[in-house]
Symmetry: D2
């Protein structure tokens, strides 16, 4: 039986605030990208998510972002690569401690928002991310797009890379996400999104807006946690994948089984 | 030759702000209590301090405080014991990652400001601190006053405790610090402070304002990093201790040598 | 025709976060207590709320709280009375500028959360609130409970006071809110809440949990903006009040008409 | 007797942190650019500065910046012009309230750091600044460089503009500051800085690095508050200007006298 991972952003609340429907999503996904306290998240919500994820067999990844709570980490703040390195290390350490505190562990790192976009586009930023992760814990995997800059940076550094596709986003001919706001950026129909995911897994390739197939291993499928109907979409996608014969399981578990 | 540790708060800047004269203090002390980003400190200053401390053979401890940058962690914010537990875990993890990133390690935990005061006075808070440290890394030592609540809480939990005295503070008959603002709270004359420290080490006891001797092992002497003349006072104290035949060395090194 | 004011907390979002259903509430209430950026709120949401309120004829009050975004202003942080004075002045000025910027005006001040509780209980804190408001704009009204400390402090200082009752909260024999978590603190049934409000207006008195009537003028009824079903409850209350012959209108409009 | 204004950034502390030597500078300057709480400053320091400035006859201007305490407002965060408008309005209102609270008033607005640089370079940002100031208080002056974008934006909008030169900075042929880090950006010798200031005032022109004279009215001279030796430099400049026959007085006082 084939296995595929579903990942989603979680723990993106702060104090009394909530954005993601964490409990519901944890019933559907197999890997939770946990906000680390700078663009969202706080020690309370992080501890709770780790505890719940552990109980449900969901893997947890650190999801570091810029220190920009007001902008939810979506503003491209001109931090230097060296500053980004330290921002990643700090958040990764905090996430690891919260996971251990809650009886779980951090399995991977996925960069958030503007930091993630900059890291996918700019090799220097990607290298900074990878240097930080390698310095703090070289056993962690990097979850990123197969055609962005983080994957080759991680590979060059000896870190394990995990290739993800987005269920609800269109792709450029270069294999990158069509920026939000441009035509074809969002796949709003959940059934269509599910069809595309299955087609890409079957083709072992990203299918671009222009129908080009860009070959890639696919380890994980990202379903957005903070879009409206996120839970519904994730549920439908999971059901469709299961009907197509996939088991939903963390890529990290697969890795451990193989080891 | 007898050995004693000198500890001081460091890394208490934030962005362009500075309070402690970190470079100068690192020439004098043997253990640096590093702010972890919530009451002071940021990833940049933390990485730099860890690098410098490593180069100079200075041990680094996590110095977590309340998330209160404006109040410098000195306001008693009514967090629950459970929330304090998570606040400690978060900051400890961030500190550990910054230390590892910079090629160093965290050796101990010392609580800061209002959090520290509450933990010394209230066993429930002390237990929360200890639970967090034990969950994240049970090999760490707890640096605290011998007559406060943290030391017995740590001992009951199996964590190593390290007993500190303050060079420049007076003590109540209960062996606790006379609160700032009360008569006898501060020892302003550095020579007098040095005399007292040596007397207490010789007596193996805290000497209270009323001249009572409260017996205790003394592993470390705290010199305040954020008071005026902090560096001068620390230097004089170090010279006086060396003249009295003490080697200044991290308690954590002593522990490692013994192991 | 009798007129009554309905007030509710609004603008309690921050960046991408939302708590209150601001648009829906603005259709129901006549006075909006606007968060000022320290416990919640930011310049974007404040400008938008002021613009919408202006368009709908809803009065806007400054709703200052403690600088505690993580705690949503609900933690009792031990600020001194003098610090509270400055905290109020700062937030009030920011709120006034945002209102003017959006073509509206601030009509009153209502303190938020822990700051509000402390001001209602402690005359020294109440005096600090009143001194700040009087220094910044002595024409503003103070919206507060008739049996708390803010109303007499305002009256003694020559500021106009506006007496509010809570639709969904029980009252002690002293005329203060039964603290959350205690029996009788919350009136969960909206119909019952509406009955109580009308009974109190008719009786010109607060009716306590023990059925004592504490006489008071009633100018405004607070419906909570951040509780579940807040909008539904507010709508029902408004309908019930209109059926009972009340016009829903800002107390500040009444004041202006009378002037 | 000729009169000239000396302005400097003040109140750039936060809680226990300090950067500028506010008390000493207030003895030297005639206009204080007051941080408003987002890149630096807090209600405590703002109230104190306003009180001191009032006592010493020093005018106070609002000195708004980006909400970036960590970056001290020096990072170019990509806020939209509309967001900048609201950021300015918010901070201006807070500053006005703190000034009124302390018995003083805000006379002008000068943008800080990265926000200031963006406003000087980009007419759209400059227009946003001006729209905000005009909406909140159209009687305020705009303190800016004579060859930047804020001055013409203010003039076009009917706001009073006040032209400043920098004592310690070199100018491009376009009349803008040579960016820090480039050759000629900083004039480190205080005597040389004083000579240049007097030469520019005499010539009624900015003198560029290439010795071109760009004609302009000069109303104020900026001395940096946060550079090392800031106070010393400001004192020397004041003495030299007084020796050259200038009275040091707020431009706003001159304006009031003329009115």
């Amino acid at each position: 039986m084939r296995s595929i991972d579903l990942n989603s952003d979680l723990a993106e609340g702060y104090g009394a605030y909530r954005i993601t429907e964490d409990e519901a999503l944890l019933e559907v996904i197999s890997s939770a990208n946990m906000a680390c306290g700078l663009h969202a998240g706080d020690p309370e919500i992080m501890a709770r998510i780790c505890r719940l994820a552990k109980a449900k067999g969901v893997a947890v990844g650190a999801h570091p972002g810029f220190p920009d709570l007001w902008g939810f980490g979506r503003r491209r703040i001109p931090f230097s690569a060296a500053e980004i390195e330290r921002l990643i290390a700090y958040q990764l350490g905090a996430a690891q401690a919260m996971a251990v505190y809650a009886g779980h562990r951090i399995s991977y790192v996925k960069t958030h928002g503007a930091l993630g976009n900059m890291a996918e586009e700019d090799r220097e930023v990607a290298n900074a991310v990878i240097r930080a992760v390698k310095a703090v814990d070289a056993s962690l995997a990097i979850l990123a797009g197969p055609y962005g800059e983080q994957a080759p940076a991680a590979a060059a550094s000896g870190l394990r890379t995990v290739a993800e596709i987005y269920a609800d986003r269109g792709y450029t001919e270069e294999g990158r996400l069509i920026p939000r706001g441009q035509p074809g950026a969002m796949i709003l129909d959940p059934d269509l999104a599910a069809d595309r995911v299955i087609a890409m897994i079957d083709a072992k390739a990203i299918v671009t807006a222009g129908r080009t197939q860009l070959p890639t291993r696919i380890d994980s499928v990202c379903v957005h946690g903070d879009s409206p109907h996120a839970v519904e979409t994730a549920r439908l996608l999971r059901r469709r994948l299961e009907q197509a014969g996939f088991a939903i399981a963390p890529f990290s578990a697969a890795a451990r089984d193989a080891a």
